[in-house]
Symmetry: C2
Subunit: 127 residues, 2 copies
DNA sequence: CTAAAATCAATAATGATTATCATTATTGTT
DNA sequence: AACAATAATGATAATCATTATTGATTTTAG
């Protein structure tokens, strides 16, 4: 993996961004200040970084893939109104892999948990 | 919701099918015996049945929506090799909604859990 | 039986993502 | 510093799952 300033830019933007952005959203944030950047490059680099374990790809939320610079084990909450993503600590449901294997015999390697609801910001708006 | 023989057919096929099929897979199973059936009809009816709570739409597995005639609370395991889906009992991680709210304050309405691994059939094949 | 409403099949359109391709940038080496 | 080898880029076309549209047909209420 060679250096590229685009990759540097994308990684930094992800680290500065707490909302678990999609490729498209990240592109829309960056393109004004970086008109030479292309959407394909954003997709390419997010996938490359995720494949190398430097960031986390979070699928199964809402049809689009989201990206997360937090590579520790944790779960996600997505707001059904605004689609913002929040982190949820691992210990609300620890050891799901082992528990699944114990209950079903299915050899389990990883577990994704997605909680759905309405975030505090949207609660206020829709009152 | 009026009666239609296509809907009857699709619902019955889903009940007979333990693998949590996608719309596309269900269509490929039915089209030979029912050449008049169209893929759009399968999509339309699966969504309609799911919206009315008669069946369950399972998203977040692998990019395609899967459908499940089991409407009880439970979780899913998907095989990373063959993409077959298995049911996992609810009690491996009960009360995730309440636990999330307790841990984070996020008002949570539903919880999806997806386990990943290799199913027994594929374990045999890849030994 | 007739008309309004729901349904249908076929196909065009959409949205997210990936592949292609000619060009450019990075790297380790003469 | 020039040199190939390779990886990365921008622009755009292609793909895949799904949804919308359209005009014809079927079902049910009156």
């Amino acid at each position: 993996m060679k250096y590229s300033k685009q990759r540097e830019l994308i990684l930094q933007a992800l680290k500065d961004n707490p909302v678990h952005p999609t490729a498209d959203y990240l592109y829309s944030c960056l393109k004004d200040a970086n008109p030479e950047l292309s959407l394909a490059t954003v997709y390419r680099n997010l996938n490359l970084l995720a494949d190398n374990g430097i960031i986390n790809r979070v699928s199964g939320l809402d049809g689009s893939a989201h990206f997360d610079h937090n590579t520790h084990k944790h779960y996600h909450f997505i707001c059904s109104k605004c689609n913002k993503v929040y982190d949820v600590p691992y210990d609300i449901a620890p050891d799901l892999e082992a528990r699944t294997t114990a209950a079903t015999g299915l050899k389990t390697e990883s577990a994704d948990v997605v909680l759905h609801g309405i975030c505090p910001d949207c609660q206020k708006l829709y009152n």
